[in-house]
Subunit: 169 residues, 2 copies
């Protein structure tokens, strides 16, 4: 068994406090490679990524999203966007799998991140669309605040046997 990977899955926690250190371009590239390795329905890959490091844009996102105050400190935000035009039924699922890959890669690199939901809350979609100039044919699914962690959280599984049925419901 590759315990290393399983432990990284348990170690991925929502990290909302970051140091001032920037995330390197090589690290950003690795995060995006991990995201795009996700499965998608009929391998349509209905995802796009907007990488934000400009302080004024990060601040604008923090001001416009109700739960994104940590973007005032974070050195990096990646907005995961979906293209319903090429995968009407599955873009949310596919982009969510890509997001989880990205968050696990964040953990593997020793970085920290938190998933900030955008879609389907229409006021958040409109705000992110306006700040980042996202065209009407694309939909921002989430914002990922990313940085070098300034808080620690213990690994965990949250396994709950009441959520498991055997053979049938």
């Amino acid at each position: 068994m590759n315990n290393n990977l399983i432990q990284t899955i348990f170690a991925r926690r929502s990290i909302r406090k970051y140091t001032d250190k920037a995330v390197g371009e090589d690290e950003i590239r690795t995060l995006l490679e991990a995201a795009m390795a996700a499965p998608s329905a009929s391998n349509r890959k209905p995802w796009h990524f907007v990488v934000v490091t400009r302080r004024e844009t990060l601040d604008a996102l923090a001001e416009r999203h109700p739960y994104a105050k940590m973007l005032f400190q974070a050195p990096l935000c990646i907005a995961v966007c979906g293209d319903p035009g090429i995968s009407e039924h599955s873009w949310v699922q596919d982009c969510s799998a890509a997001t989880e890959n990205l968050l696990l890669a964040v953990t593997a690199l020793g970085l920290g991140a938190v998933w900030l939901g955008v879609y389907p809350q229409q006021e958040r979609v409109a705000a992110v669309r306006e700040v980042l100039g996202i065209p009407g044919s694309m939909i921002p699914l989430n914002l990922l605040a990313i940085g070098h962690p300034a808080e620690e959280k213990a690994a965990r599984t949250q396994y709950d046997e009441t959520r498991v049925r055997w053979e049938c419901w």
Copy 2:
């Protein structure tokens, strides 16, 4: 950098051919622990898992889902189900993240799997609901066919720079 994890993300491929060997209970437990370590909106954990190993049930799923013929051979199927009652807006995203964690754990254990979409195709939802006895308040999101791999696929990223924008769209 934890290259091991990044390489496992690249090594996760859709595996549709399996040997006869059963998947062990300890392995199934690890897969479910990985799934439930996923993030969810407000940590609501809107997921349930139906674990199927009975041949007649696997065959019934293979017969009723249009792209699930590999379940005639697979020794294991896990149906990931969502509970919209506790997370109306985010259950698809949360259950998709849990699914991706489970698929990465499959890869880490040396197993192989493929994600078979169910929701939102209503005829598939109805068929899976009927075969597995899933109550009306829950929605089957997907079926995961799992086994010991009888085919090999190369690791890959699918990185595409045209899907990346810098600072704004």
